[in-house]
Amino acid sequence: MQAELAPGPPAWARLIARTVIARRTVRKSVRSAVLWGYVFGITVVSSAVSYAGIYKTAAERRQLEVAFGHNLAAGALFGPARQLQDVAGFTVFKSSMTVMVIGAVWGLLTSTRLLRGEEDAGRWELLASGETDLAGAATQGLCGLAVAACVVWALTAVAVVAVGRWSLHVGAPAAVYFATALTAGAALFLGFGALTSQLAASRRQAASYAGVVLGVSYGLRMVGDAVSGLHWLVWLSPLGWVEQLRPLTAPQPWAFAPIVGATLLSAWAAVCLAGRRDVGGSTLADRSSRVPRLGLLSGPLAFTLRLARPAVTWWACVLAASGVLLGTVAKASGTTIVGSSVRQVFSRLGATGSGAAAFLGVAFVILAMVVAFQAVAHVATARREEVEGRALHLLAGPVSRSGWFGAWLAVATGSLVLSCLVAGAASWAGVALQGARAGFWSVMAAGVNMLAPSIFVMGAGTLAFGVLPRATVPVMYAVLGWSALVDLVAGFTPQSHWVLDTSLFHHMAAAPAVGVDWKADGIVVGAGVLMALVGWRGLLRRDLQLG
């Protein structure tokens, strides 16, 4: 038989093979992109719509402007307020910081998961199979992430343009500018996540590097916004750049320059670094050999502590830094909590009175969201241990499921308690540093007060882990995301009691502004424990999941 010269695959088939990672990245990120795009849109719409309802008269609106216009407490937490006498300025003030931070968290988690996580799981090698190298794979991944960012932006933009037309009375270009400003944080941190994915040696490490960048950014802009002489600090902070876009009020489009520059630069650096390292390797030195360290390897509980130790330490540092920061700005910010409108907002967030304590009361509610996020991270790690087949080595040995998961819950609870205590002590120290007075024990109690919502989140996670394991992480994010959103929006917009009651943080007293409501905390913790027990039973009865 005459051998025929086999024609190569057609050009389109090769193109499809070469974009397999890009398409996979789009597929794996588009669902959360759509979800957050909607949430951002709804946040803007609800702020705009509620304004007209609450601040009916011009007098009320002027009062709002006078109170918040130069309010450092609000500025520290939510960014500076401008032109609150009209609905556009109010909407920008109310939705910007929340959307920006949530967008940044989404961005860094998504890009580290889809770039580093996929690589660590070995999926890229499988998919690319010689069609591309690591730099090519990273390029494709970034293209996929760019599509996801566009999806978030487009959905937000649609909502903002619509609300801009009907209720904000601004044209489409200004509305699109606003939507772009809202989602710029997400784009920036998609880029930073891509960069840290190349620098770090694992997904978790990459996410924590990017998380540090986010924390520092928030801290810098907070000090910059709250302390008058230090305004220049804002320009060192990526979140500060986004803030300086000032959509709808006093636009500064040139603030896009550092944003676009940093995003593109980190994407470009990511591709370059990817081309220079091995699959699974890191750019920063990661010594691959060492003498064995045999501490904390002697049983399930000790070993779990060893596995979780870096995370425990990391979270304690995050909470310590946040505590010091909040404590430091508390005095300056608290003195500006004057005027009925500001008090009203702070009291809707649960804090009464004025001064450092009132400021800290609201700050601790927001910090409690960070602690609850930590709870999500711990349970998600246990889930990954199961699915990625590492727990198997213990569970196929003489370790019971109760013993294994119990160890994770114990370590997680211990870590949460530590974070709360550290946050309390650090903010007390921050306040003391400024020469303001705050009772040590009441601030510590306020720290412990943050524990209840996170225990509830952990309980919900455990319930899902036992009963519907695939939903473990989504369920926790749903509980946390919903609660945070309802509570933050409620601060500025009175909501129906029924809605408010669904937020975990609404049941949390804004200590130290008010006394800790131990009974409410007890009920929330009790509900969490109850869910955990149901989940526990499920865990003992279900199949172990692998792969």
């Binding site: 050999s289 064995p292 390897l297 213990l394 003489p398 370790v399 172990l544």
Partner: protein, 309 residues
């Protein structure tokens, strides 16, 4: 089973259904203490499923499994004290070094033969000072093998333990399993490497589509199966079409190749009469045995015409 002798593994009516799909259907299997059993079957046959049920990691739909008389589904921890397990996918903690991993796995199991561990580390040529992150797949597999072997557990459950090992390490593995066997440990080995099974196992059990299709010693299985014959004839090749037990006869330039099952005398009589000049009779290799067994699937897929290219 009769008498008081306790099986190392006793499986009775064990089934696992995922929805309507029977991953394992009504399995009965016994492994005597000290026996080395090969567990074979095509991809998706249900080998890993069996092992997960045996370890109590998955819940059985029906039936039961015991390890040295301990119910694996109800009292898994107690059962696990008697066994060590090596999965086919070696996912380990990337931040630990090889030595740390061996240490923690040993601590968890409770008893380890440290001298033997050092010997094995040398035999498998493992650099235990390296972090797992820096290990190749084969090296991670070696860590798990060493960890399991050093427990000296009464039962070793191995699920494709040599995937990723190079031929030299495959030899080290065989030597180690042979040592374990000589010490009287029981070994349950699921594998796709047939030469490995042939070299190590006293008995094999073959699974297909969740059902046990064969179980017995290799000799027994060979006796039941066809032998392949190759006969050269000086003159005309005889017609074998009427002969019982003769399959797949092919004639090529005076040479007849066929497989003969059951009684071989009628076949011999016919070829003797026809003037056979040379005769080679060969027992089937394990591989041929399997291909025959795997192949006779009731829902064999249609042969797909190979595309040119």
């Amino acid at each position: 089973m009769t008498g008081t002798s306790l099986s190392a593994v006793h499986i009775e009516g064990l089934s696992k259904f995922y929805g309507d799909v029977g991953a394992l259907v009504d399995l009965d299997l016994d492994v005597a203490p000290g026996e080395v059993v090969g567990y074979l079957g095509p991809n998706g046959a249900g080998k890993t499923t069996t092992i997960r049920l045996l370890l109590g990691l998955a819940r059985a739909t029906a039936g039961r499994a015991e390890v040295f008389g301990v119910d694996c589904q109800r009292r898994p921890v107690e059962a696990h004290r008697r066994l060590a397990f090596v999965p086919g996918e070696a996912n380990l903690w990337p931040e630990l070094t090889g030595a740390e991993t061996l240490h923690v796995l040993g601590q968890v199991h409770g008893r380890v033969d440290e001298a033997y561990r050092n010997r094995l580390v040398e035999r498998f040529d493992l650099d235990t000072s390296k972090k797992v992150r820096a290990y190749s797949k084969g090296n991670r597999q070696k860590v798990l093998l060493v960890a399991a072997l050093t427990t000296r557990a009464d039962l070793l459950v191995l699920d494709e333990p040599t995937s990723g090992l190079d031929p030299l390490m495959e030899q080290a593995f065989r030597a180690s399993v042979a040592e374990a066997r000589d010490r009287g440990q029981t070994i349950f080995l699921s594998s796709h490497v047939l030469s490995e099974v042939e070299a190590l196992c006293d008995r094999v059990a073959i699974l297909r589509q969740g059902r046990l299709v064969e179980s017995g010693t290799l000799d027994q299985m060979r006796r039941l199966s066809a032998v392949s014959v190759e006969a050269r004839f000086a003159g005309r090749v005889p017609d074998l079409s009427g002969l019982e037990g003769v399959d797949g006869a092919v004639v090529e330039g005076g040479v007849l190749r066929a497989s003969v099952s059951g009684r071989i005398e009628p076949f011999l009589a016919v070829i003797a009469q026809a003037g056979v000049s040379r005769l080679v009779v060969r027992e089937p290799s394990l591989e041929e045995l399997f291909l025959a067994l795997y192949g006779e699937s009731p829902q064999q897929p249609e042969a797909v015409p190979a595309s040119a290219g």
